[in-house]
Symmetry: C2
Subunit: 478 residues, 2 copies
């Protein structure tokens, strides 16, 4: 008998919930193995699993092609001698060769630990990118490169929790990294609800109400988390709302954690991304702000490299030094991710040899995402018992389902929430993997699920969703 037991381990770990890779995803992985091991007699009613549970564009089965430019740069930084070996053969565009050479000159080998905070050369490039985006100064000293946005979010949350009474305001529905990290590090979630009836908008009034309620319960609010564009909602905040939230955070001594990893994913011509940083500066606010970005999203979708950064605004020196110390224990973020960040903030410029291909590839993906999101939302809205906000941003839709009493009862019998029951049936019947709404949080008694709009072959995909849904509704008709 092993002497390591669940009951002797960190009790907070057992409480952590992370549905994006939870029950559904684990079952889906098992189906993948089953299909692979028994290609001809797998006994399943589908031939492939479609992972629309996670924003992972290059995943097998979705197969969004990587953008060529960052991959060429990465190949040359991996094996710098290559440039010489293929010189004159036209294998690499000149700007790629130059970029790789510059990175090597500035950073050295990608096999060495960089500065803990990330290579200063790349941080300077990030600062320039932010300056151009916002029109306000940015400094490499305030920028920390990370292994994906996740690593930064988790660190910031653990830093902000100073006692078991520390709370963070979290939008509901949310990307569950937030509640998972809070639980892991012993803090409390203070939920504020987004308004589905007005396209998942954020109402500062509801944030204020949540804040007051938390204070009355003895919780000490430390920070306001905002995901813009939203996950799972895809909503994009207006300038007015952001300014109100900044004011609210300032008045209530909150740090703002602005998750802006989807800033490049805007599908509606009327929606526009505005960064919190820009408006903090515009409002001349002293509010401490951490904004997160990532190479996993946008149209690059380089999830596997694990690259991202966060920028601290209005942070005093000693707190920056504290962050530096903490990240230095983990040595440094992966250099492949850092190179990816450099390519994200310095894409090929018009006139450079790589520009035309880069433009073509990124335009095509933006277009495909916008079209697919619109199409899936329309088709879902046409189904009985479904309503779906057509997301203006990010990579997801979060349809609401109105279950029959019978379906709710059957779910209960199976020991599942209705949306988990539905999602499991969807997976079992079609191989499509989505995440039930309760993984993100929703108004008590409501039901949703989240799917990504990343799938190629959208017609076939939606067709399967529709067929399954109609069948499910018929089977459990009251």
């Amino acid at each position: 008998m092993s002497s390591i037991k669940l009951t002797s381990l960190n009790p907070r770990f057992s409480d952590v919930q992370y549905a994006v890779r939870g029950e559904l995803a684990i079952k889906a992985e098992k189906y993948v193995v089953q299909l692979k091991e028994h290609p001809n007699d797998h006994g399943l009613p589908f031939d492939k699993v479609v992972f629309t549970n996670i924003g992972n564009p290059q995943q097998r089965g979705l197969d969004q092609e990587p953008i060529t430019f960052p991959r060429q740069v990465a190949a040359l930084t991996e094996w710098p001698a290559l440039a010489e070996k293929v010189k004159g053969l036209g294998v690499f565009p000149d700007d790629v060769v130059e970029r790789a050479r510059e990175l090597e000159k500035e950073i050295g080998s990608i096999g060495a630990y960089s500065q803990s905070q990330g290579a200063s050369f790349i941080r300077k490039n990030v600062a320039k990118f932010i300056e151009e985006r916002d029109g306000y100064p940015a400094s490499a000293d305030n920028i920390f490169l990370t292994g994906g946005a996740s690593a930064g979010v988790s660190l910031m949350i653990s830093m902000l929790i100073s006692s078991p009474k520390s709370g963070l305001l979290i939008p509901i529905p949310q990307y569950p990294l937030y509640t998972a990290s809070l639980t892991q590090h012993g803090g409390l979630a203070i939920p504020y609800y987004l308004d589905e009836s007005s396209a998942w908008s954020t109402s500062p009034q509801s944030v204020r109400a949540a804040l007051e309620k938390a204070r009355n319960e003895g919780i000490e609010p430390k920070a306001l988390v905002v995901i813009n564009p939203g996950n799972p909602t895809g909503s994009v905040l207006t300038k007015e709302v952001i300014l109100e939230l900044i004011d609210l955070a300032e008045k209530n001594n909150l740090v703002i954690l602005a998750d802006e990893v989807y800033q490049a994913n805007i599908h509606h011509p009327t929606a526009q991304f505005t960064s919190f940083k820009k408006l903090v500066r515009e409002a001349n606010s002293p509010v401490p702000l951490v904004s997160f970005h990532s190479i996993s999203k946008g149209v690059t979708g380089e999830c596997g490299r694990r690259g991202g950064y966060f920028e601290c605004t209005n942070f005093p020196e000693d707190v920056l030094a504290l962050i530096y110390k903490m990240i230095s224990v983990g040595l440094c973020p992966p250099l492949g991710g850092q190179i990816g960040v450099d390519c994200m903030v310095r894409p090929p410029k018009p006139g450079s040899p790589s520009y035309p291909l880069w433009k073509k590839e990124t335009d095509a993906t933006h277009k495909a995402l916008a079209e697919r999101t619109k199409l899936i939302a329309e088709r879902l809205n046409a189904l009985p018992g479904v309503s779906c906000v057509d997301s203006p941003g990010a990579l997801y839709l979060f349809p609401r389902i109105y279950f029959t009493k019978k379906a709710v009862e059957k779910a209960k019998e199976a020991g599942k929430t209705p949306d988990t029951f539905y999602a499991l049936a969807l997976l079992d019947e079609t191989g499509i993997c989505v995440v039930p709404g309760d993984g993100f949080g929703q108004v008590e008694g409501q039901n949703h699920y989240r799917l990504t709009c990343l799938c190629a072959g959208v017609e076939e995909y939606v067709g399967k969703l529709e067929k399954f849904h109609r069948g499910f509704m018929a089977k459990y008709a009251d």
Copy 2:
């Protein structure tokens, strides 16, 4: 005034100490900038900074060349189309092309999140590597790929801490990741001292004594940390001691955390690495064991990729599931690191096209490390007031310095420990950056520093060390 203040943050963060990238390293980085910005009038008594504070072989100034094979494989997985473009030109050896193709077939795009635990194909290869090393079965299900060993160590420590009274037995001197993670996650270090007088050996008796003392103080010991080969000591555990430690852990219900990242770094012909896993199996012990490995060390030194793994032995299913859930919150380890792990556990085989170069490169680095370690140890031992155990393993030496009363007094006046005072003077005078012994822990009143044996140009380097030391001793003679 910013509303974020040190005093309002997680109080444990302020207590964390991590000297490897502490005061000395920060000052050294400033000198690098100074040298770069004022190449001709920097006003410093040296022209370059030598970072021997951290085991970072490919770092600029040390410039250990990367091993070619993993870099070629990585280049092709970054841009798979490249193989076709240079086909027939002899740019890549056939086995590299095959390996990259196999990895792509099995894993898909390296731009996609893999399974949270790491790609199963690579985990299977790790299992085979362990089986061949130990002669006992290993399973991919028990293996978790990580972003460097650090990530795994930190996670395991935070999982084992179930209350503020939880303690981990830590060797002193130790690699400060252990105490830093313990402090960060709210656990207690139970120090056991290694014996410098017998080449930094580990005495199970001293572990037992530490355990007893901790229990008497109301601490609940949860795990025994062992670093083998040692950092900073370079000592290599004998089979007998390992078996005793396994027995001790078993009897005391401890989990063993075996940090074996230096398993390939053995310099003495008489020393031999034996894994804890092998002996746990040999002893048929039910003791729960986590063993850590990394691509950062060995002779590959691919620190920047952030790759590694840990293997859990004698872990029940539910605990493995808990670990899986926790790592899934961070999505996955970097694919570049995972590819690096694959190359580490599946190096070119004799007879394959890449073998001769791989063999030449790895042999050369092993030889250089062994020679340099021996030479530096000899020269240090010849200095007045220095004694140094000649490390049989790892990448470091940890000389002891016997300071004069005057030096100790001067250090006190400067508000520094004697070894920090010494290391700062060394940096200021020569540009050599080492880490003072107090960063690793040492017997009260003793003084050491750690240096790596990675520097190219060892003669020049040792010459500077010697000159500085003699000068320092003369300056502060009693």
